[in-house]
Amino acid sequence: MSNTNRRDFLGMSFAAVAAVGGAASLVGMKQAWDPLPSVLAAGFTTVDLAKINLVPGQPQTFKWRGKPIFILEKTADMEAYDGDLVVGDKRYTVAIGLCTHLGCIPAWKTDVWKCACHGGEFDATGKHTFGPPPKPLVTPPFSINGTVLTLGEEGSESKAMMAARA
């Protein structure tokens, strides 16, 4: 009897040590695959809206954290929207240029962004109007100082835009 208990104790001790070791290894292995600090820190992109020669109705693409950012200055006949960025008397659409379905970059065709991968479409405000995308194009976090956008730095304007689009 005492012998059985002794073996049970040994067995359970072994299982406990193995479980702790195994769990710790999994945590380590999981973290080895996390984005590296240098990737996380590769931070901020600045865009001066006054200097990029935007043509109304013709979006431009900028790169932030490996992702495309669409900036479109709206024409007068494009629908005004609470999710627009308003600077002076101009209205802009600022959005991460990745289809919210599976992450392809939609291309601008006259007045919509069309995604080649699965046929999704977004209008000039970034709203999804056709196909599988489940939500509008995502607003990146940014702050604005005069006409200078700093992508990656959360500001009140981008917060308000995100809220309007939610």
Binding site: K30, P35, L36, C104, C117, P132
Partner: protein
């Protein structure tokens, strides 16, 4: 007996130590295969040969390939293709074999479905085979990323994005898989590791297991005859080879396999030398560009049917987002074949032509998969989107009716 006195340096001594003759007998000359089979039973060996070609050509490619976003494209398209002696040959052999192996896997799979070789003791053969399909798919996907062309990059972007979980927004999982906010250098290097080490290792282990699962239930035959292997083997060993219903794996079965393998290799090398372009998408000869998605992207042909189920439901319905429905059906399509043995409610093992309703089911499934594959490659606009939608619906419906159809066959036969 523990100590062996015969010299290590003699045939007898080695035999004492390793029992090679007994091993050979168990694995080869007394491993029994039914006589009543056709060339479709040779495809397992064809697959083993094709996998060996992939490993050997892969070893040579690995010696010059560089898993770095700055170097990968040129290491493939300049170093391997133009500088390395026969580098072009190894690349084309690897690419064509990767494509052709899926053709043979599909035929092998549907041979099993047609002849009912997945039930009544053969479930494990089927399940391990489907695990091989899944691991080979992962191998195909990870390998496709390595040349770091436009298709490589965007296939990687779209497929890793599946793990965002649609509307669930499982934030962090995609970034974890990629090791960054977008597909990047860390992604390429880790998928290189998966492609050249972890996946082949797992595949080899599952292949060994797949062979082992065959051992006890034995392979099926054309009329699903339930053979008494001990009795038939005895007849064969006693010299009644004509009466016996079985033949040994080696040399009799394999000699026929080699004939089929030879025909296959003629076809394969014809593709390698004269028609390799089907496995080399022109778009992938543009270096990866994370700021431009190619005008029209599509996976390799062997993923097209499941890709089409992903985009088949293109409008919201039943209170769900279109993208989520597609994702659910796509996820289902990846695993549903695994449970095939448990959806077939017919208690008899019979070839499909002796199961009238199932026979029709089988061919509708084949046609539907072909339709999904064709439309998976076409742009998803206008009428194409609707064909994709209905073909996806038929695919789902087929799985729902499978238990009913098989039960009806069994009832009509009087087996239920």
């Amino acid at each position: 007996m523990a100590l062996i006195n015969e010299s290590f340096f003699s045939a007898e001594g080695l035999e004492k130590r390793l029992a090679g003759k007994k091993f050979w007998k168990t694995m080869m000359t007394e491993y029994w295969i039914p006589k009543d089979i056709n060339f479709l039973w040779a495809l397992g060996v064809v697959l083993a040969v094709t996998f060996s070609i992939l490993i050997i050509s892969g070893i040579f490619l690995m010696m010059y390939y560089k898993p770095d976003t700055a170097l990968a494209f040129d290491s493939v398209n300049y170093t391997i293709m133009q500088e390395v002696a026969f580098g072009w040959l190894f690349r084309h052999m690897h690419g064509v074999a990767a494509s052709v192996i899926f053709l043979v896997i599909y035929i092998h799979m549907f041979t099993g479905i047609y002849y009912g070789s997945y039930k009544k003791g053969r479930e494990m053969i089927w399940i391990s085979g489907m695990l091989l399909f899944v691991t080979f798919s992962a191998g195909g996907f990870s390998g496709y990323m390595l040349p770091w062309g436009q298709m490589s990059y965007w296939a990687a972007a779209v497929i890793t994005n599946l793990f965002a979980g649609g509307s669930l927004e499982a934030w962090g999982l995609v970034e974890w898989i990629r090791g960054g906010f977008a597909v990047n250098d860390a992604t390429l290097t880790r998928f290189f590791m998966l492609h050249v080490f972890l996946l082949p290792l797992v595949i080899i282990m599952v292949i060994v297991f797949h062979f082992y699962t065959l051992r006890i239930p034995h392979v099926n035959n054309q009329i699903s005859d339930d053979i008494d292997y001990d009795a038939e083997a005895e007849k064969y060993l006693a010299g009644n080879k004509k009466e016996s219903k079985v033949i040994p794996f080696w040399p009799v079965f394999l000699s026929k396999d080699f004939a089929v393998v030879s025909v296959f290799l003629i076809f394969y090398f014809y593709l390698v030398f004269f028609n390799y372009n089907f496995a080399m998408d022109p778009v992938n000869f543009d270096p990866a560009n994370d700021m431009v998605t190619p005008a029209h992207i599509y996976p390799e042909w062997y993923f097209l049917w499941s890709y089409e189920t992903l985009r088949g439901p293109f409008f919201d319905m039943l209170g769900m987002k279109a993208g989520d429905i597609g994702l659910i059906i796509f996820g289902l399509a990846q695993v549903i074949f695994l449970v095939f043995p448990f959806l077939d409610k017919d208690p008899d093992v019979l070839p499909a032509h002796k199961r009238p309703m199932f026979f029709i089911w089988f061919w509708i499934m084949i046609v539907d998969l072909l339709v999904l594959s064709v439309y998976g490659k076409l742009p998803p606009t206008g009428a194409n989107a609707w064909v994709g939608f209905y073909a996806t619906a038929v695919f789902l419906l087929l799985w729902i009716v499978l238990p009913i159809v098989t039960k009806m066959d069994a009832k009509k036969r009087g087996a239920l």
